[in-house]
Amino acid sequence: MADAWLYNYTDFGEGRDQSPRPVLRATVPVSAPGSRRSFSAIIDTGGPINLVSNAFIETATAAVPTDERLILRLGGRRFDAPVVTIAFALHPPVPSPAAPRLWTGLAAVIDPWPHEGTAVIFGQTGFLDQFTVTFGPQGFTVEDGSTFAARFSGAPGS
């Protein structure tokens, strides 16, 4: 991923005609490596770790359990979630012909999945520690994790 991948915000239609403003989500398509079925994953900068549903785990052949568990609250419920190491494939924005970006990161497995809009949530550990993500008013970009240091090292305040 030498170039920045520029993504649209997604309006799933939440609250359409209730609010005059579209509800926009920062989502990226992600799959297990090699899979041609991706899930729409929401980037949650307030999330401590990637979350995946069992539905996603079932598509991943290389999910490796760790001995770690996390107590998490999601959708108003408490979960004792096992943490796995899992391989992901981040797909470029359409219509880019670039190959998916592969990486391996931690994720907590939530079952049953309470969130209604997606089956994967990207948080700090496992995603934001891997990529440089820049949110703007018009869209957002995903770049290599090293981009941030290269761009800002030596900057005032660093």
């Binding site: 649209n8 005059p20 991706s38 089956a119």
Partner: protein, 161 residues
């Protein structure tokens, strides 16, 4: 179907609504906005015939200019530079980046899990992800993106906690 929208000074969509009353509320709230484009500009901030925005603006124009290297807009048959000016609304400066919104129209599948193709068309749906995967397996469907279609009347989740 294109949604009526109100555009901000940089061409960003600040409101969209099919309901004229909701749209009017937005106009009052953002009374200084420059344009109300009823059915002319869709919620992609692009031209009326652009129903999706996945590739909006990444080309410097609308999705109709599908090839970056294209010199003529596929829709208007005009030079790209002209096309870009025609399709970009809101008075943003030349070369500015308009808002990029991928607008999905999933109301007919509210509450269901859906699989979308590259044109954001629903090719399969089911009440659960497991059922959806079984459907996809049964039909050998690949190259899809999976998500849940929200019910527009549901409360909007704030954050994910």
């Amino acid at each position: 179907m294109p949604l009526p929208v109100v555009l901000g000074p940089m061409g960003e969509v600040v409101h969209h609504a099919e309901n004229p009353a909701v749209l009017a509320r937005g106009v009052r709230l953002y009374g200084r906005q420059l344009a109300v484009e009823n059915g002319v500009v869709d919620s992609n901030g692009c031209c009326a015939t652009s129903e999706r925005s996945r590739d909006t603006v990444q080309h410097g124009c609308c999705r109709h200019q599908r090839e970056r290297e294209a010199s003529v807009c596929a829709v208007d048959q005009l030079p790209v530079a002209t096309c870009a000016r025609r399709h970009r609304r809101g008075g943003g400066p030349a070369g500015s980046l308009a808002v990029m919104i991928r607008t999905l129209h999933l109301e007919a599948w509210a509450g269901l899990w859906v699989a979308l193709d590259h044109e954001d068309r629903v090719v399969a749906s089911a009440p659960t992800v497991k059922d959806l995967m079984a459907t996809l397996d049964g039909h050998g469907m690949e190259d899809v993106e999976i998500m849940r279609a929200p019910d527009p009347n549901e409360a909007i989740p704030y954050g994910l906690g």
